[in-house]
């Protein structure tokens, strides 16, 4: 099955470190996306035509473009054509944050617009100021809606990091390929075992996050 390859040298450790690279890229991007996306989402609810138009183009671009194309544009396009020196990891962070911020902005916009007007009205009619209304009434409801959704975004990011090996980043999938290549003669069946282990590694990383999202969703459903 090829599992014995794992025990050779420091192969198992290398796979774990590859997973570490994938997690690092996705978590840094997720933090940037959540911060920028929240700001963008609030801007989108302001109903200023110029801002709305800008974000519409931004969101559509992100939706239409495969992430891999975005990676190629930023990494190869920027470095080769424009002479900007980007490391592959910086390029990956830029693309993932660009993508994640758009997704997050749309989620925040949806959550904000999903709060019924009567929630603002009943709060102000009790004498609460706009700031108190945001802090005690609207904010907590937005956060409750957003946390499960942001967690789902993080798991999607972790899965999508498998693409960054295309711009030369050695993450878990790439490490797996290297191990398989190196052992092709001695263990021709290593591919199955190694990819199965990689599957389990992704699962181990994403499943608890997914469970947390489900738990919070159930706890806070209105």
């Amino acid at each position: 099955m090829g599992f014995e390859v794992l025990l050779k040298g420091n192969n198992a450790l290398r796979l774990l470190m590859g997973l570490g690279v994938a997690l690092r890229i996705s978590l840094i991007s997720a933090v940037i996306s959540i911060a920028l996306g929240t700001v963008f989402g609030v801007l989108m609810t302001l109903k200023k035509p110029a801002i709305t138009a800008f974000f519409r183009i931004y969101l559509e671009t992100v939706r239409i473009m495969p992430q891999m194309v975005l990676l190629f544009i930023v990494y190869f396009g920027a470095t080769k054509a424009r002479g900007i020196n980007l490391t592959a990891e910086t390029a990956a962070l830029i693309v993932f944050s660009f993508w994640g911020s758009a997704e997050m902005a749309d989620l925040v916009r949806g959550a904000l617009q999903g709060i019924p007007k009567i929630q603002y009205e009943s709060s102000t009619s009790l004498g609460l100021s706009t700031m108190q209304t945001d802090r005690y009434v609207i904010g907590p409801q937005i956060i409750r809606r957003m946390i499960p959704l942001s967690i789902n975004l993080i798991t999607r990011m972790i899965k999508t990091t498998s693409l960054v090996m295309m711009i030369g980043i050695v993450e878990v999938l790439k490490v797996g390929q290297q191990i398989i290549e190196a052992n092709r003669k001695v263990s021709p069946n290593a591919a199955f075992g190694i990819f199965l282990v990689i599957f389990l590694l992704y699962f181990a990383a994403c499943w608890p996050i997914s469970l947390l999202a489900k738990y919070l969703e159930r706890k806070w459903e209105n």
């Binding site: 009567i118 009943s122 009790l126 004498g127 609460l128 108190q132 409801q141 209105n222």
Partner: protein, 248 residues
């Protein structure tokens, strides 16, 4: 003039317009302390908008609202006083979904009036007990029926010690079997001398609770009087035909 006869709430020549639609114009209204005023009228006649103006949820374009002798002009900072001193309960269940019943009713007194938490809690528990919901104090709004939510909303408004309570069709979204439990709470508030402005379609309830009835149609007060005069001897054709329709 007797101090107690001075109106607690006076509406002088107020007008409300949306762009080119006039909801009402030069409307006048006086409410005495302890009086229960019931406003009826066809849908779209402006009665709900009137209540919303009295709570500064909608700005008025002209006129003034005098609360307890103090004039509150539209757009001025004094409108916050209207919100603090005038309580409102809405048609839809508008409790804060992320808070328990107790948190819902304690929020405003603590944050707006900066009152002592323990004292507020005691008052909240007493009021919840009064409307029969003490056992629900730690539940969330989603666990309550419509009638229960509406009773909590009444308690939440009462916790701010409003001078005037506005009730905007508070039973209109309820299942019929839950209407009674809410109306009973309102009746008991009327008995203890609460000043209330009530918009409703429940004519029997209106008759039971009102000190004075007002019929609004097309943005004007068409007729007003005691419940007896109002229901038994309507003076205008418009009111008689409205009441005839409501009897079905």
């Amino acid at each position: 003039m007797d101090v107690d006869m001075r109106p607690i709430l006076e509406v002088k020549n107020i007008s409300k317009r949306y762009d080119d639609i006039t909801v009402f114009e030069n409307l006048n209204l006086q409410v005495k302390k302890g009086e229960v005023l019931v406003i009826v009228g066809p849908s779209g006649c402006g009665k709900s908008t009137l209540l919303r103006c009295l709570n500064a949820l909608e700005p008025i374009q002209e006129g003034e609202i005098i609360l307890d002798g103090e004039a509150i002009r539209p757009g001025s900072r004094e409108v916050n006083k209207l919100r603090e001193k005038v309580g409102m309960v809405f048609q839809s269940y508008d409790l804060f979904p992320h808070m328990t019943v107790l948190q819902n009713v304690m929020l405003a007194p603590i944050k707006v009036k900066k009152r002592d938490k323990k004292e507020v809690r005691e008052e909240a528990l007493a009021l919840l007990d009064r409307v029969g919901l003490l056992s629900k104090k730690d539940q969330f709004p989603r666990q309550l029926s419509g009638g229960q939510k509406q009773r909590v909303a009444i308690v939440r408004a009462l916790m701010m010690h409003p001078e005037v309570l506005l009730l905007d069709e508070i039973t209109a979204a309820l299942d019929p079997e839950m209407v009674q439990e809410v109306l009973e709470v309102v009746l008991s508030l009327a008995k203890e001398g609460r000043t209330m402005l009530i918009v409703t379609h429940e004519m029997q309830f209106a008759r039971a609770v009102a000190d004075r009835m007002i019929f609004i149609d097309g943005g004007h007060i068409v007729e007003e009087g005691t419940p007896e005069e109002f229901f038994e001897h309507p003076k205008t054709e418009r009111l008689s035909s409205f009441l005839a329709k409501m009897r079905f």
